[in-house]
Amino acid sequence: MSKLFPKSANTLPFQIVVYLVVLAGIATAGVTYYMTPKYTRVGYAPVQPVPFSHAKHVQEVGLDCRYCHSNVDKSGHSNIPTAQTCMNCHSVVKANSPLLAPVRESAEKGTPVPWVWIHTTPDYAYFNHAAHVNRGVSCVECHGKVNEMDVVSHTKPLSMAFCIECHRDPAARLRDPKDVFNLNSPRLADQGADGAKKAAGFVHDWKVMPPQSCSGCHR
């Protein structure tokens, strides 16, 4: 009844529609952000009990990944070095730096150093390091340029979408097996003109066929 609804009421429906659209937009944006790979824990860089700098150890000291992560190419788990491993050098170098106290304590008592876990998959997803590093997938693909990090941070989403992306097109990301632990090396596909051919050849010769159905990762 128009005595009830003022003239302005006619714009009401239009306004409502506009508001709904805006609201929906915000909601969608939120959901997308929360559910899509972008929002995993990218950027997570907790403070560790010992301020270990990968940059220093790799670039200055020139250690290979496998010096500390010695089982990465044998086992599904990439092991964190034992305090003993650290002490191989640090019994001499910085032998009594206060920063290394936890490591020294661990080495003699056997109590572990509680490193904060950064890169991880859900309990129902089984990732196997050996399977990847032995077949041309470099650390950098999932961990980013750890060799340049003073504080390790989570750089890739490590969501299912992220994994699948690579499993669908391995050729684009494979490296020459000897470059796997050289985080600065280029991917085969990026090696100039015949890069793509090299990559394709690798995939063919090595019979690279990453699983794309559940059984690959979910058990």
Partner: protein, 177 residues
């Protein structure tokens, strides 16, 4: 206030009265006028000289969109984006894609139909001069009206009023905008 009124409104008691009156207004050549009835009076469209509604075309468009949406979605998700072997069935087949596409066809048709109807009728429109008329209440109940709008080129308070009374319209009143 000496503003141009929205138009003139005349009251008719029964459907037949309205019907015949409408025919005459039509013949008088008015274009911006309307009948207010409590229910759809059969044949009144013809009496008013209205063309057939175009809602069906909108519905058809909606339906086609729906069907295509369904098929494309199922084909893209199943065959292109993430092909999975399920029960040894093909990655895409119009056969198993049909039920869903079919439902979407109907859903989209419904949306289009109603959307189209409201659009064509310019609804929702809660404020309208006609609704300010005191006796309009009966219009939803058991009385019939004819409204001739001022914006009609042939509109002229005196002549139009005369016409309305001539064709049997009772209590002809000006509607303020």
């Amino acid at each position: 206030m000496a503003v141009q009124p929205y138009g003139l409104i005349a009251t008719f008691k029964t459907a037949p009265d309205l019907y015949h009156a409408a025919e005459q207004v039509r013949d008088a050549g008015y274009r911006h006028w309307d009948c207010i009835t409590p229910f759809p009076v059969h044949g009144l469209d013809k009496a008013m000289g209205l063309k057939r509604s175009i809602v069906p075309r909108i519905s058809l468009a909606g339906g086609i969109t729906g069907f295509i949406t369904g098929m494309t979605m199922i084909w893209w998700t199943g065959q292109i984006d993430y092909p999975l072997i399920v029960g040894g069935k093909p990655l895409f087949s119009p056969m198993f894609a049909f039920p869903v596409s079919y439902e979407l066809t109907i859903l989209f048709t419904a949306f289009a139909t109603i959307g189209g109807m409201l659009l064509l009728n310019g609804l929702p429109r809660h404020y309208h001069p006609v609704l300010k008329y005191d006796h309009i209440v009966r219009g939803m109940d058991d009385t019939f009206f004819i409204v001739i709008e001022a914006r009609d080129p042939r509109f002229n308070v005196a002549n139009t009023k005369a016409l309305l009374e001539k064709i049997g319209g009772a209590s002809v009143t000006e509607l303020e905008p």
